[in-house]
Symmetry: C2
Subunit: 339 residues, 2 copies
DNA sequence: GCAAACTTTGATAACGTTTTCACGACTCCA
DNA sequence: TGGAGTCGTGAAAACGTTATCAAAGTTTGC
């Protein structure tokens, strides 16, 4: 019968307890637990029985300490409640799982200080690698030291300026260009742009794509039609544009949040301009009219970044690469409104 | 100048290296790193300098091993890409952060086997506590042993049958009742219900609320108006209901996914019944008409669950409690369509 | 039939921390 | 001036694993 379960200080049985209980050596228990096949069947069975009876569970802290690195990776994203990032998280989690690696994730909420803190916390936990969406002004100093220490890093959604490392990004310029060209093809020549702060990597590239599309069609870029601020206060600028002498007939929104904010504004101000939004979203097809979007592929991004990281962890030391994912125009109606 | 950075096998400097570099004892370094104030200013400065020069970072595995438990908690949710759960994740992360605890999270995707695996992985990492959304058939055996070992657990969104533990849930019955009564108040008497499998805890309670509301209004429950299956294939059943002799004039949807699936179906089949959905969602206010919902409060749920867990970790051993959060009816138009 | 190879096994030494312990150097109050 | 408290300090002993090593037992090769 289960003897009085021998315990560590912790309240948990240790390998030593198991060894005693099974009447074998400590090393044999370790071998069984680690799946080493060079143990006789009788002893393996005895150890298994003792483990079950005592409810032993290997202490991963000790294991990690001994082995030098944990089978775990860290993921730092912008915000877990943003569908784009939660899908990235999901994909990374799946890959990590398939590699028997545990994923720790955290949201920076665009705070560089917080991001640094979390990265250091991950490194203190001795993660093998990191996948990072760097917030503005993250800086490379705090990472440099970790890279030297052997922590592999992959950047996702945007590069870290000044650091030559593996990066997975969307073709922001091309995607935005495609979206705006789509509006131009419908006859629009007055196309507004609502988006986030232009200092951000993704935003600036998408705005560049917007400009390139206009220029390639011989349409002058009108700064009064571009609203790029971090506060997403679209109400007044939209009113101003519409009240102007030469109002826009179509809008390009630079990201998910801009799209939903603008749609809300359309609804409030009872207007309905042609619209193409960057990034797909739930219910885009249910709205009337369906919202035409430039879809990114966050699941692929996460998967690719994670695979890249694990390839590095497996020893690949080829030069750093940047993977750029193409976007996909999904026409649902809002972009097809004729000028 | 920075001497040749002494290194551990790992590639990283250890406290011993720091001690050597600073010309102090190992224990002193530990004291400085742990924020112990009983160290002379001169030595503290020397240690700080050595740490900076060597790029030392404390090895948390060793720390955990020595201290017995990690300052970390585990969160097991259903799916990180579900906004309801990603908000829970966000709230838990915030609380954990404020307690200097690291959060590890994983999605079960409704797979009990996978859930068990992740829970064991968390426990092997010696998390102090767990917040769990138990999938069906999770069972209590695998948890019992961990609870005995001192791991505290809080269940969220649904209880674990057979286990008397802290639980944070939504008032599913009351919320559903409120929603359906809202439809009844608009004069509807033929109210359909589209939702997930009725075996699920939340679903069954919401369906019960739906039934209670009808019964309390003296309206017989018509089984042909209730569609409760896990596949979310609403197209045919909706057609069948509408083609029937006594078609529904309103619908109650049991969760987010049911609501969006049904809205998509409305759009495809070009119908527009009155609708109240359980759980709020992005853009519910932008749709035409705005979708009336029974809003849950996932942020509060996560916050409360996390605080409950930390209270337990702080030593609270009062009887297990179940916190039930009230819902909020948000009328946006879709529920106000008159019969 | 005997040496050479391979198994299986348990002691034992790490891994990098925190914590105890004891020792010396102070301060304090008589 | 001296004994009782402090305080700062480093040596050393854990924490629970895994890896190394040598010993014992078993097979193989000629």
């Amino acid at each position: 019968m289960t003897r009085t379960p021998a315990t560590a200080a912790n309240g948990r049985p240790t390998m030593r307890d198991v060894a005693l209980h099974a009447g074998v050596g400590l090393a044999t228990v370790s071998r069984v637990v680690s799946g080493d096949t060079h143990v006789s069947p009788s002893r393996t069975a005895a150890v298994r029985k003792a483990i079950a009876e005592l409810g032993f569970r290997r202490n991963d802290s000790a294991r990690q300490l001994r082995k030098g690195a944990a089978a775990s990776i860290g993921l730092l994203i912008e915000s877990i409640s943003d569908p784009f990032f939660s899908l990235i998280n999901q994909a990374v989690e799946e890959v990590a799982l398939s590699r028997d690696s545990l994923l720790m994730s955290a949201s920076s909420n665009r705070d560089a200080e917080h991001a640094r803190k979390m990265i250091l916390a991950f490194c203190a936990r001795r993660v093998e690698g990191l996948i990072i969406t760097p917030p503005e002004r993250l800086g490379i100093e705090c990472l440099q030291q970790e890279i030297l220490a052997g922590v592999r890093m992959v950047f996702i959604d945007r590069p870290l300026p000044g650091l030559n490392a593996d990066t997975v990004i969307t073709d922001n310029v091309g995607g935005a260009r495609t979206g705006v060209l789509h509006l131009i093809a419908q006859g629009h020549r007055r196309i507004a742009c609502f988006t986030d702060r232009e200092e951000l990597f993704t935003t600036s590239n998408r705005v560049r794509g917007y400009r390139e599309a206009l220029e390639s069609a011989g349409i002058p870029v009108d700064p009064s039609l571009v609203y790029a601020h971090g506060e997403y206060l679209f109400s007044d600028p939209l009113k101003a544009m519409l009240a102007g002498p030469n109002p826009p007939t179509a809008v390009f929104t630079g990201n998910n949040r801009a799209t939903s904010t603008l749609l809300r504004e359309f609804s409030l101000q009872k207007v309905s301009l042609a619209l193409v939004g960057f990034d797909d979203f739930e219910l885009a097809d249910v709205l009337q009219p369906g919202v035409t979007v430039i879809a990114q592929d966050p699941l692929s991004m996460g998967r690719i970044a994670a695979n890249l990281l694990f390839t590095r962890l497996d020893g690949d030391s080829s030069p750093a690469q940047t993977v750029t994912l193409e976007t996909r125009l999904i026409a649902r109606g809002s972009g097809e409104i004729r000028a």
